[in-house]
Subunit: 146 residues, 2 copies
């Protein structure tokens, strides 16, 4: 994405365009691993060494409030963010915390039962799968899931 397009996007969202926000958003769009705030921080410090961790937190919160990033309901101890705001689902490894995307039909906003619409205003819907990934299981693993 062009930097000029980002300036326009930020302006439309009522956000000042700062270099900190630029590198954070760029890192979020590029990331495929649903990074935590601290992970984002480590990455962007290569490009903006003076950025503070609180600014990363504040930036992610600002982007989330504008719908430019999403928080993944992964359930670990640290919040995980997603730069892909298109509809998709998540698998979470309860052991290592890895998060992967997957797609499937039949579980998007339009598939929800009318009871959900009656409940209030829906922002997003996703399938959340929890388990243990293959890397954590190892070859021919037979241990219990926890």
């Amino acid at each position: 994405m062009q930097i000029e397009a980002l300036k326009i996007l930020f302006a439309q969202s009522g956000l000042k365009f700062t270099n900190q926000r630029y590198v954070v958003y760029k890192a979020m769009v590029a990331a495929r691993d649903h990074p935590s705030a601290e992970t984002v921080w480590r990455r962007v410090r290569e490009e903006a060494p003076a950025i503070s961790l609180d600014t990363v937190y504040r930036t992610l919160a600002a982007l989330e409030a504008r719908g430019l990033v999403t928080r993944v309901p992964a359930g670990g101890d640290e919040a995980r963010f997603d730069g892909d705001v298109t509809a998709h689902h998540h698998v979470v490894c309860l052991r290592c915390g890895a998060i992967s995307d997957f797609t499937m039909t039949g579980a998007t906003l339009t598939d929800l039962p009318p009871t959900v619409a009656a409940w209030g205003r829906v922002r997003d819907a996703q399938v959340l799968v929890r388990g243990i990934c293959h890397k954590c299981l190892g070859p021919n693993d037979n241990t219990q899931p926890n």
Copy 2:
């Protein structure tokens, strides 16, 4: 549920049967609001006034590890637990934190795409809907979702 049946259930799970665990589990099965540890604590203190908050945390963790309760991936600041371990889905209010159940077809374990099975060992799958509930919206509310 009979108290004798609970003793058997706990024994099968390798858990000693204590009054603290008894009241916590009973409260979890009775609850419909997916309470936090502190909410559970407030409730069980009526029946077991000496119980400590850490014991509630430890008990919920032990029950979760045995699959007797579930953690709801609600995303708020405090962990929310569910005494209903049958397959169902959740709607979460981003404003007040209320969590409701709903059911729908097409999004259970058996409906997941093969890519998920290839990913590892799946423990559970649910649809997670986020939005603002009617109580928080109020009558004829037109504010933005956040």
